[in-house]
Amino acid sequence: MNIIDFISKPWPWYVAGPMISVVMFLLLWSGKTFGISSSLRNICSIAGAGRYYKYFDFNWRKEIWNIVFIVGAILGGYIASSFFQNLDPLKLSNNTINDLSKLGIVFSGELVPNEIFNIHSLATLKGFLIIVIGGFFVGFGARWAGGCTSGHAISGLSNFQLPSLIAVIGFFIGGLIMTHLIFPLIF
């Protein structure tokens, strides 16, 4: 992989995976633990939810680093998409393209299907379900499980945590049910 490819082409898994473990290491080295869904709790706490519910009643000032990290990540997304843009359309497997087309979802070559993820689709039942109920499930489920993909799947599994293994199995049970059993009903 030369430097031009590195900048203009998507990164393969064997570049991305090791780099994510570097991110995990840098956070450990900084005295923190990699985990993103705690930010959802922190935001509630910053907004004052601690006055009403004990779960949000903690010193959120100690967790500000987590919000700073996220602001950085948003900027990272902006930098990558503006200056190191992947020039070719996304190379999705043909099997997935076929499966999705049977559900009536056209593969756009972009990161997400724009026909679903737009402000107008919020007013439709399907769009509301995907955007609002989907988001709600992610937030509710991650907090009930005690972590998300970063906290459980990456940090937790790396530290041989049984609760994390159970949670990750749960992630896949839920994802497979949604993809294979519920998607055909929604779309």
């Binding site: 991305a16 993103i36 680093w65 950085g72 499966d99 159970i166 839920g174």
Partner: protein
């Protein structure tokens, strides 16, 4: 200024997640349909390298920037919550095609509708905090 390092690590994270297309709704569908190795390769290699890294850190008592030995907090094992919460998370992950990290990073990529996804996720976290005592753990 003590926060600048987290800002920089965040930028790195956002770039990795964007360049490797992990934030793509389509890639998550591909993963749940077992049509590509990409996502499994990303998660698998980061976990294996993560395990090696944790073992080494523990073995040599590696110290963090503040000079303290890095301690790993154990995740709390619940009889129900890890699995039930995990399943609900998975349902949402397949719907939105994004876990919390990608939700934020997609905004940086110009997909502003994910701001609504995040607000919904915050509402989900709030609801959990509100009814926590009534849920099995």
């Amino acid at each position: 200024m003590k926060y600048i390092k987290f800002f920089l690590i965040g930028i790195l994270f956002g770039i990795i997640m964007t360049k490797s297309e992990i934030i793509s709704w389509y890639r998550i569908q591909e993963m749940f349909r077992f049509h590509s190795f990409h996502m499994y390769g990303v998660i698998g290699s980061s976990v294996i390298l993560g395990m090696i890294q944790v073992l080494i850190i523990k073995k040599i008592n590696f110290k963090n920037i503040g000079g303290k030995i890095i301690e790993f907090k154990n995740k709390k094992l619940g009889r129900y919550n890890n699995l039930y919460g995990g399943i609900i998370f998975g349902l949402g992950w397949a719907l939105t095609g994004a876990c919390p990290g990608p939700m934020y990073i997609l905004i940086g990529n110009g997909y502003y509708i994910f701001g609504v996804v995040i607000l919904s996720a915050i509402l989900g976290a709030f609801t959990y905090g509100a009814i926590k005592e009534k849920l099995p753990h």
